[in-house]
């Protein structure tokens, strides 16, 4: 078994609304990502998926818990400073909305090579322009796009550019925060293929955040299910889809539409009420690698 790349333990984050009120977005979430693994994080909207991604990228300071990446404590400013360059180059994030995560006033070529400029990496293919062309070709963008600006491109093209930007540093951990949520289905499939292709080619680890279970089923090795900030179940993908144990997971799975109309008609939506969630629960391993939140 490969060694652990990212270790998340008891991650908790609260957003302070006013001085007296706060919203708990993450409540003691723990999971591990191994080298070369695709870990999916699913859940309804508002379940804390993006918050988790932002905590891991140090964009947010979690209220509690531990984060270790390649043995570096991500919450310790001193260690972070010492490994600053390593952290910057080997962790990359892809945002959900490519329209706002790409600067509307930069050309694609500048956008794609921005991380190399920041970290003053010498482009392996001679000039920055050649590098941008190479990366663009890899994600399937024509060189003519490179002189355009994000608003002139389609959503799929923009998301490809965002991927190219993340990949040009050859990261070890790629965090994709709902990268396909704002795209239409055919483009979604292309982008997912792209992820799969690059993952086998480069062997990076991928934290894939989505609310679309079929994408996760197709792409991921292991899946964690978030519900209202709690990690209710985590298991290898096939295990989870065949044997969902937590009612929340079952409800989520039952919501996936089936392509076969006859079976689709028989599909029954399972309901899951927040109130049925017992207060005190711990994550238990029921079978190898399959963890479920259960009552004590």
């Amino acid at each position: 078994m490969a060694e652990i790349l990212l270790d998340v333990r008891g991650l908790t984050h609260r957003y302070a609304m006013t001085s007296s009120r706060s919203v708990t977005a993450l409540d003691g979430v723990s999971f591990q990502i191994r080298h070369g693994e695709i870990f999916g994080l699913v859940g309804q909207s508002g379940s804390g998926k993006s918050t988790a991604a932002r905590c891991i990228m140090n964009l947010l300071r979690p209220t509690g818990g531990d984060l270790h990446y390649k043995g570096v404590d991500l919450l310790d400013p001193k260690q972070r400073r010492e490994n600053r360059r390593m952290l910057q180059t080997t962790r990359q994030l892809i945002f959900q909305d490519s329209a706002s995560s790409l600067n509307p006033r930069m050309t694609l070529a500048d956008i794609i090579t921005e991380p190399m400029v920041i970290n003053s990496v010498k482009p392996p293919r001679g000039s920055m322009r050649a590098e941008a062309e190479f990366q663009a070709a890899k994600v399937g963008l024509s060189p003519s796009c490179l002189d355009r600006r994000p608003p002139e491109l389609s959503g799929g093209q923009r998301q490809r550019a965002a991927i190219a930007r993340a990949l040009c540093m050859e990261p070890e951990l790629l965090i994709a925060d709902e990268p396909v949520a704002s795209l239409d289905v055919s483009v979604q499939a292309q982008i997912l293929n792209l992820f799969r292709h690059f993952q086998t080619e480069h062997g990076f680890s991928l934290l894939f955040i989505a609310h679309d279970l079929s994408a996760v089923h197709w792409l991921c090795d292991r899946v964690g299910v978030l519900f209202h900030g709690l990690l209710v179940e985590s298991a290898p993908t096939t295990e989870l889809f065949e044997n969902p144990l937590h009612p929340c997971t079952r409800a989520l799975l039952s919501s996936v539409p089936l392509p076969d109309p006859r079976r689709e008609r028989q599909r029954r939506l399972e309901r899951f009420d927040t109130d049925t969630l017992p207060a005190a629960e711990t994550l238990r391993e029921v079978s190898p690698e399959h963890f479920v939140l259960k009552e004590d």
Binding site: R91, E114, P151, L153
Partner: protein
């Protein structure tokens, strides 16, 4: 234009910041040319003005426009045609210098307020509100009495010091909006330091509105100088500027000497109009999307 051909498929086109559509360029030639002529004429006025603008020839007081005096003379017997070009230099200088001071102050303080944590920010805003609550005219009089004798640079400084507040607020809002936008976050993720983010992301995005406001500051300063001089708070009539030329206007009213009022005012107005047109062009028009109505 390519923007019309490639309609983005994303749900919302980019952020609320100024739309990335290039500003409309047509109709810009006339104001630019007029302003160019006025500025150039004022700068090299020694080459073509017929008389010494400061010389008071008491034989020719209040002469209406004629062949000798194309714009007439004022009540002190000075040639208005020469004064216009000579005085325009002072007016324009005050305008640009004051705008430079206020733009600098606004950008520095506005960015500070935009980047500061909430507590100091509220304090800055409160202070700004209090300063803004004093009528501008009082501020000008107060600062001017501290600085002493009215001189062109002193007035520029006064106008600059009183004109930065509202612009600082706009800068602050823009900086805050941009700071929270995802592409800045993304750049920070990649390890972009403060100066990288400022140079590559913040500056290009707020430069258009800064340019717009800077041009508007020039406009406001020129107008304010003329107002102050007219009210007797700015430059005295001996120091020639468009404003101080107009300070003779009230006595000209009763004497029906229309040229003393109309001609400097006309030059002032044309300059202000040209500046407005240029400023609006820098700001960029409304987005080209079609109205849904």
């Amino acid at each position: 234009m390519t923007a019309d051909k490639f309609v983005p498929a994303a749900p919302r086109p980019i952020c609320d910041a100024p739309p990335p559509v290039p500003p409309r360029r047509h109709g810009l030639f006339l104001p630019a040319a007029l302003l160019g002529i006025i500025v150039l004429g004022c700068l090299c006025c020694e080459l073509f003005i017929p008389r010494d603008p400061t010389y008071m020839d008491l034989r020719f007081c209040n002469v209406p426009p004629c062949r000798d005096f194309p714009f007439g003379t004022d009540s002190m017997g000075r040639d208005i045609f020469s004064m216009i070009w000579y005085g325009g230099r002072v007016s324009l200088l005050i305008g640009f210098a004051a705008a430079a001071v206020s733009t600098l102050a606004a950008v520095v303080l506005g960015s500070l307020a935009g980047l500061a944590p909430p507590q100091p920010e509220t304090l800055l805003l409160r202070a700004n509100e209090i300063v803004m609550s004093v009528p501008n005219l009082l501020l000008v009089v107060l600062i001017q009495s501290v600085l002493g004798k009215p001189r062109a640079m002193g007035i520029a400084l006064v106008l600059g010091l009183t004109g930065w507040m509202s612009m600082a607020r706009v800068v602050r809002t823009e900086v805050r909006q941009l700071r929270q936008s995802e592409f800045v976050l993304a750049s920070q993720c990649m390890g972009g330091g403060f100066f990288h983010v400022l140079r590559r992301h913040l500056a290009p995005n707020f430069l258009p509105s800064i340019t717009y406001m800077a041009v508007m500051n020039v406009r406001a300063a020129i107008a304010a100088e003329s107002t102050l001089s007219f009210m007797g708070l700015g430059l005295p009539p001996e120091v020639i500027s468009w404003g101080s030329m107009l300070s003779l206007a009230e006595s000209a009213l009763t004497g029906h000497q229309w040229w003393i009022i109309l001609i400097p005012g006309f030059f002032l107005l044309v300059t202000l109009l040209c500046l407005t047109a240029l400023g609006n062009a820098a700001h960029g028009g409304v987005s080209r999307r079609h109205s849904n109505l």
